[in-house]
Subunit: 229 residues, 4 copies
DNA sequence: TATGAATGAGTTTTCATTCAT
DNA sequence: TATGAATGAAAACTCATTCAT
């Protein structure tokens, strides 16, 4: 069952070494995305405060001044990065839910797989780390993320669980807690990838495999009869 | 079964408003800890880069210059904060394991409760957030944390799981993955407390209750016969 | 006695909101003046250094780049503004003097009235403020203004006074000082209009009335018999 | 009649070349005034916008950072300069008025001489230029100056004139206008000193002599019987 | 030891000027 | 001619670190 709706993340920043090309080239349309993509990389590596706009500019292949043509401040650029990474994926998840009238566990399974794929393959995986790190400095951003991502995501999962329970597909678990228990390994995976992968020469985390085990455990927890065939 | 070995975190920073109080001669030995405690607060709120040593000094009730009598740089102070919060708790956990020859699940249960308590009640809960945020800027610190905390913690849990499997107490789960699935909700709890608690007027997370549900789920997953009495 | 020779100041800047008006083909000859007029407004409000060429361009209804088609630098544009406002008025004053063989005090009266009108009604009133403010940064401009405006203006008045004294129309006042005492209230009026009019909710200065009183005082000072009928 | 109450202006900035003295010396008390004095010089020469804090710092013999220990921004430093130059002189003038029950014209004469001396000999002479130049950018400052200096000064002169008229010492002139006509040559003198003195090789303006002539003219205008002995 | 005034390198931000279109 | 995206030098401001006291 191929997923026709691939995970979304900004395109890679252009290589800044265009050789001896003209001093600059008109890129009106593409510039903002390129800058956001470069900024995402730098923020991901350094965090907000330690990120230098000079480096963002260099990776985007533009000058420092150009950043200010598109974003009025470092802070706004940061917010743009967060928004750019979040919104498409969120919409994608909601589309998936709306469309699919599957058995509840199958739907959960697909959601897990989708998020696992995003975490494993896209740069959006750094967003949680960034938001977590800067929640204290940008309460407004924390509130935005809480409202638009966490609350929506949790609500979506809660509805799914409740539906399963109501239909007798799931055991009557504590919905609020279970939502968080479902999400936690995904969060751990995202964080691992952005903070500890390859540290000390360890193997990269196999997110898909971890989430598959998570799914198996969830089946035991949620589905009444335990080991399905 | 009271726990005679309470969770460990640095003492609270002294109120900086000593005013013209009865000039209590300052015990010199306490200074470093006071500074570390104040630094932990500030790093927790702002992150490493955005934390200002001026604020640390103010909260510790000393002058900026004094910080440098005890710590050669901001970076070393940061590391001291991490170490101060981690090591005692780690030793406590290892002591617990070594001493108690309980049934495996009961031991796991006790470990979960202990960590939950640390997360819910001590300032050490901010450490994961700090380390995660700065892993990119301080690879050496990330490696230290990986080696001393994550690897040790994971190893400890893996040993516990393996022992349970070997003894026939646990189903033969994938040990590597299950370790992470056990830890993930604890990480989520710690992060929630330091980044989203009270954001947007939400209720504080009830860590103990969440971890209790987690424990129940784990029992279903790990223990062959499901709900024991 | 109508003045056939009205006060001179650059035309108002065109409204920049041409919208999609009936694409009137732009008369090319007018561009530089439009830019100078817009620049005069912006320099008047902000001073030279704080004036942004972006704002000048916007008010002139052109793009930033276009400014450079007509003026090689901000500095040259500034000088063009000064010149554009000064020269016509200066020529007008000299024409007036040359033409009119009136009694000396009547001529002085007409000069005062003319300058008062320029100050009260044209944008050229900001020139003294601009030149004064930037004299330190543009010694060359200060010298130009001193030579072309101040010296000429002072010389003209000195000649007038001397003629009056020689003819026995005026008392033998100190010419050099009196010239400055005649000019001072005009300068004050110009400055008031551009810096303090309406500040703190005050009434706009009635330049004509002030200068009329000035004229009456001057008559007492200059004319031997005091109150003429 | 010696004036025991000399004109007030900040002390000159210290020479920054202390030879090979220690990197810096503790000057807690004196620093702010030294900085204000240096800033006054630089603002006077360049205007607010074109003044570089680096230059202020250099002239004050301190580093850039030190400025920010005492003044939170360039703008606040500017205001401090204005206030420092204005307030002492204003108080001095009011003291003079309050103390002296002389004939009205003698009092006016003394006031003129005092202001002339301040203009001729102190750095406070640049204040009008600075305020005029930046009134557009700092409306709040313009309002402050209008309220605290202009209104107070004008009110003080108006009261003096009115008293003279009421006592029959002065002719019944238009008080509002005459106040401005009295002030105008002082303003011109201050501006001349700061913008045109020595431009193009001219002689410095002899402020005292100019004001003496002004005084003579005022006597003709104000005092009923004309030429007193 | 302790202080905190002073430093200065480093970062964000602005804006006159250039130049491909 | 005209545009406006792009540049980059310059300037305000910050803050870890030093050091005279």
């Amino acid at each position: 069952m191929p997923d026709p709706d691939p995970p979304v993340s900004p395109p890679p920043a252009p290589s800044s070494s265009d050789g001896d090309a003209p001093r600059w080239r008109r890129r009106k349309g593409a510039r903002p995305q390129e800058i956001v993509a470069a900024a995402m990389d730098v923020f991901a590596e350094r965090g907000f405060a330690a990120a230098r706009l000079e480096e963002v500019a260099a990776r985007a292949g533009v000058s420092k001044g150009t950043l200010y043509l598109y974003f009025p401040s470092k802070e706004e650029l940061f917010k743009a990065v967060i928004r750019a990474a979040i919104l498409p994926n969120l919409e994608r998840a909601e589309r998936m839910i709306a469309e699919v009238p599957e058995p509840s566990f199958a739907l959960l399974e697909r959601l897990l797989a989708m998020v696992a794929e995003v975490i494993a393959t896209t740069r959006a995986a750094v967003i949680p780390k960034l938001v977590i790190a800067e929640a204290g400095n940008f309460p407004e951003l924390a509130a935005f993320y809480h409202r638009e991502v966490i609350r929506r995501g949790f609500g979506l999962l809660a509805a799914l669980l409740q539906r399963g329970i109501d239909r007798g597909e799931f055991r009557p678990v504590n919905v609020e807690h279970t939502v968080r228990l479902i999400v936690a390994p995904l969060l751990l995976s995202a964080i691992w990838r952005t903070a500890f992968d390859r540290v000390d020469g360890t193997e990269p985390l196999d997110v898909a495999a971890l989430v598959a085990t998570h799914r198996d455990h969830l089946r035991r927890v949620l589905v009444a009869e335990g080991d399905a065939p």
